[in-house]
């Protein structure tokens, strides 16, 4: 797997996201208040608009979540599973491999499109 260096982890505010270009694709990179870093598609699977990095980061129970700014579906950042479909059908937000090395965030090539925990990336802890 090839890895693209995206930015310093400190560039991303806590519970915020930035947008990165990885292999010509738009990837939203999220850093939670707990210090974990996740990467997901920028494309919102419901509206089709490229907006995910502009959504609110938060939690549902102990699950880190990203909420689409368009129609407010809630996605589990660890698996991309939709926790609140706002009445619609279930859709998955594809996730990307991501790790933090020497204070830099790296996103791996190739998204995961399944929502099963086995295909989900291990979140990288950077020590909150």
């Amino acid at each position: 797997m090839s890895w693209t260096t995206v930015c310093d982890v400190e560039t991303i505010g806590l519970d915020e996201a930035v947008l990165a270009l990885v292999d010509g694709e738009q990837v939203a990179v999220v850093r939670t208040a707990g210090g974990e870093v996740f990467a997901v598609d920028q494309r919102d699977p419901y509206s089709g608009a490229h907006v995910m990095a502009r959504g609110i980061v938060g939690t549902r129970g102990d699950r880190p979540c990203l909420v689409s700014p368009m129609y407010k579906q809630v996605f589990d950042l660890r698996t991309g599973a939709c926790l609140d479909t706002v009445g619609g059908e279930e859709r998955v937000l594809p996730t990307w491999p991501v790790r933090v090395e020497a204070g830099r965030v790296l996103v791996g090539s190739g998204r995961n499109t399944g929502a099963t925990p086995t295909s989900s990336p291990e979140p990288s802890s950077v020590g909150a």
Binding site: E16, A20, A49, I56, T59, R60, C65, P69
Partner: protein, 856 residues
């Protein structure tokens, strides 16, 4: 039914007598007792506790207690306007004022109290009143109305006595538009219920209602002129001119019948009874305010009701005894919250006080706890007694959690209802337990407050337990799957109004602080924007600085409105819809240069659609340089003030509606609120600005402006309702200031003014009282908050352009600063760009109508 029921004579048709009759008739299914009730007053028992509501135009009939059917019961005889004059214990007979003699098997004295008249010369003058019966208050009202006919100056009144009753009477005088003074001998108001700190807070609240307060003052005499009250004189200080005087210096048990027939009388009056309410004559009982039980006389209704229940039980052969009572009291005066309960002064040894005092907010709260700070012994709440209903049942029990949390605004953090044991008394007037209230939901399928009240009787007397009853009901409903909570989300249990208060009182400045103090976890898309909005309303700081950008919802986050394809629209402010030709040209040029679709909105301004995120700062720069600013189309804040052309051009216009609309728009621009706010101003009653469809609508009249509030278009259209008529401009603006600020403080998340107004306790009338008469004593606060908003307003676009950190948020890719979002695709339609449909995106023909990149 037995053929010869025993004779029960009840003397005194008051509240407690009525409870006895109800209780006995309910339980005496075999008809063992025939009841005769003697009422000295010319009417059946009524709700004395609610006496003051007689002034708010209520019919005496509205004060009736329970149904009137009881008087048709063949076993109940009521004699109105008939007093008992003598009791013959030997013969077991009562002599009545109408000459009749009634034999009895049992006699119950329920003669209550009479108002005490202080030993001051002049109390017999015309214009001096006591405050105890319907006839008293009717005479008082008549006197005031007759005086008003005669004088065209404001009337002046004084109340002797600054206790519960005196303050209620002062409120009643104010309601009759009589400027009132309260004169209290003790050094503070309500000396029996509150301590010095509470007294001071109370004084401020009462003074805020326009009532003049003199404590530590002895009234020496009342002087008259032609037999009518004229002046009040004091031990020191100048005399006070008065037109009416109310004496509220206490009550005296009406124990005269008992004295005359030789029953034992308490040291300070009252008929001595044992814990089964029997006097020294076993055939005679005494209940209510006339009884001296456990060595004391009770001046409140709840112990009286308990005595009535005990007596009913005993008459039917039961062994019930007086369960004791607490002195908990709550002042019933609109806008002045005072409650006192349990050992409020901490007289028990080893008591510990927890005090929260906030003179600015007008709040003083004290809890008295056991020395380990766990068990609640009593408390005093002044200025905000919302915790009272929840705290009172916890008397003598361990308070779960930090005691201070119970003193924060509106029961923040405290959820005593959840832990309240089933046997805790919730409604002490009617002795209803938490379990009974819960049962009304679970077993009797009650789903709203009226149903629970009807089913359990809780909350049907003084009403002070209602908040708690409601909470219990809500919790129970939720348990059965009905959603009623006003908690924001899993991270914050507060309603938006509560949140506003804790942020304001605690001077909180960040989301983290709010969540750490009052919530849990890390937050979500529900609580973050709400907290951001509250912080913005209070501190008026830029939405994208201080780490707040991540809290903002979709549109606020980039100070623009997100469109279906992820691009943005830009709406510059055009106050009142008035725009110069130059302004129109600039907007046109900008739209052309950036290839934006333009449309005139329903809010009288121009919307520019299809801007990429990274183009927003460049577009704003051009607009700001030309003198435009943000129109806040993205914010839960003021949108527009729509206007008609008004007297400037229109041949019917009577006022300058455009001028006022612009002034209002510039005043309230940027004000963050629970939901968006829209205003309208029409220059005459033809109403071309559709002002009555707005949150605040202003319509010109020949004499000034009519102010309408709570209008709405949208999903549930509503016409705004008239708040005030013919206001001059400065008063109009002040009224709108207060209305809006009050809404901002107390509405729920995403609740427009129409719904807020409808939900507000007391409805529009109560809101009007707050806005125009300062009934809550918060007007100065609201005015100051609005003044601060106006003073600190800055254009959010211009401020964003100044701040490099904020501007950095508008870069598209963190690792490719020069690349653009290439997923946006447009086709031309009617000469402008619009987003391409999915079919158009994949199809062969894609028309580039604009300067934006078109995907091929």
């Amino acid at each position: 039914m037995t053929h010869h029921p025993k004779q029960l004579v009840v003397v005194g048709g008051g509240m407690v007598a009525r409870r006895l009759v109800d209780a006995l008739r309910e339980r005496d299914t075999d008809g063992r007792w025939a009841i005769t009730l003697l009422c000295e007053e010319p009417r059946a028992p009524y709700d004395r506790v609610a006496l003051t509501s007689y002034f708010s135009g209520r019919d005496p009939d509205d004060l009736s207690l329970g149904g009137a059917e009881i008087w048709d019961d063949p076993l109940v005889t009521i004699r109105r306007g008939v007093a008992a004059t003598r009791v013959d214990r030997e013969a077991r007979e009562v002599t009545c004022s109408d000459g009749r003699v009634l034999p009895f098997d049992e006699l119950v004295l329920a003669t209550g109290s009479s108002a005490a008249v202080p030993p001051v010369p002049g109390t017999d003058l015309q214009g001096c009143f006591v405050y105890r019966t319907i006839d008293d208050v009717a005479a008082l009202r008549q006197w005031v109305e007759a005086l008003r006919e005669r004088h065209d100056r404001p009337l002046r009144g004084a109340v002797v006595g600054g206790g519960l009753l005196g303050l209620e009477a002062a409120g009643a005088l104010q309601a009759l538009e009589v400027a009132s003074h309260v004169v209290e001998f003790a050094p503070r108001l309500m000396p029996i219920q509150v301590d010095d700190g509470g007294g001071e807070a109370l004084r401020r609240l009462i003074t805020g209602l326009g009532v003049d307060v003199r404590t530590g003052t002895a009234t020496s005499r009342i002087s008259g002129e032609r037999g009518r009250v004229h002046r009040m004189h004091f031990a020191d200080g100048p005399a006070l001119p008065v037109d009416v005087v109310v004496l509220a210096t206490g009550v005296r048990p009406r124990d005269e019948l008992a004295r005359a027939c030789g029953l034992e009388i308490g040291e300070r009056g009252g008929v001595v009874v044992d814990d089964a309410c029997r006097t020294t004559d076993p055939a005679i009982s005494a209940i209510g305010e006339v009884a001296c039980i456990e060595g004391r006389v009770w001046g409140i209704v709840a112990p009286g009701y308990a005595m009535a229940e005990v007596t009913a039980d005993r008459l039917l052969g039961g062994g019930a005894t007086f369960p004791g009572a607490d002195t908990a009291t709550k002042l019933k005066l609109l806008g002045v919250d005072v409650a006192s309960f349990g050992d409020a002064f901490g007289t028990e040894p080893g008591s510990l006080d927890v005090v929260v005092s906030d003179p600015v907010a007008g709040v003083y709260k004290k809890l008295v706890l056991s020395d380990d700070a766990r068990t609640l012994r009593g408390g005093i709440l002044v200025g905000d007694a919302s915790a009272y209903a929840g705290l009172r049942p916890m008397l003598g029990r361990e308070l779960p959690g930090d005691p201070v949390s119970y003193l924060l605004p509106e029961g923040v953090g405290a959820a005593p209802s959840a832990e309240l044991p089933d046997d805790a008394t919730v409604c002490s007037c009617n002795n209803v337990s938490a379990g009974t209230v819960r049962g009304s939901v679970t077993e009797h399928a009650c789903t709203d407050l009226p149903a629970v009240k009807a089913c359990t009787r809780a909350g049907t007397s003084c009403g002070s337990c209602l908040p708690l009853v409601k909470r219990l009901m809500t919790t129970e409903l939720e348990r059965s799957g009905v959603e009623v909570s006003d908690a924001l989300c899993e991270h914050l249990d507060l309603s938006r109004a509560q949140l506003f208060d804790v942020v304001r009182v605690g001077q909180l400045r960040s989301f983290t602080e709010v969540l750490e103090r009052h919530g849990r976890g890390r937050g979500c898309d529900i609580c973050k924007p709400v907290v951001a909005s509250v912080l913005a309303s209070l501190w008026n700081e830029h939405p994208l600085t201080q780490g707040r950008a991540g809290l903002q919802d979709t549109n606020d986050r980039y100070l623009a409105n997100m469109q279906k394809d992820g691009s943005y629209s830009v709406v510059p402010r055009i106050p009142g819809g008035e725009i110069t030709p130059e302004g129109l040209i600039v907007i046109g040029e900008i739209a052309r240069d950036f290839g934006l679709y333009t449309k005139i909105t329903g809010g009288q301004r121009i919307d520019l659609f299809g801007a990429r995120l990274d183009q927003l700062p460049d577009i704003w720069r051009r607009l700001v340089d030309a003198g435009f600013e943000s129109g806040h189309a993205y914010g839960k804040s003021l949108r527009t003030v729509k206007s008609c052309v008004g007297s400037t051009w229109c041949r019917y216009g009577v006022q300058d509606s455009v001028g006022l609309a612009i002034a209002l728009e510039e005043r309230y621009r940027g004000l963050r609120s629970p939901h968006k706010i829209k205003l309208g101003v029409s220059g005459c009653a033809r109403e071309c600005a559709e002002a009555r469809g707005k949150d605040v609508g202003v319509i010109a009249t020949d004499h000034g402006w009519n102010l309408y509030v709570g209008g709405n278009g949208g999903f549930t259209p509503r016409h705004a309702q008239l708040l005030a008529e013919d206001l001059p401009t400065d008063e109009l603006v002040r009224a709108i200031d207060r209305y809006l600020m009050y809404y901002v403080r107390t509405a729920d998340r995403l609740q427009r003014t129409a719904a807020w107004q409808e939900d507000h306790e007391g409805g529009l009338d109560a809101i009007r009282a707050v806005v125009l008469e300062d009934s809550l004593g918060i007007a100065a606060d609201l005015d100051a908050a609005m003044a601060q908003h106006v003073d600190t307003y800055v254009d959010e676009w211009a401020a964003a352009l100044e701040d490099p950190k904020t501007l950095a948020r508008f870069t598209t890719f963190v690792n490719a600063p020069d690349a653009h979002d290439d997923t946006l695709a447009y086709v031309a339609e009617r000469g402008q760009a619009r987003p391409a449909t999915p079919a158009e995106r994949s199809g062969p023909v894609l028309v580039a109508g604009t300067t934006l990149e078109v995907r091929s």
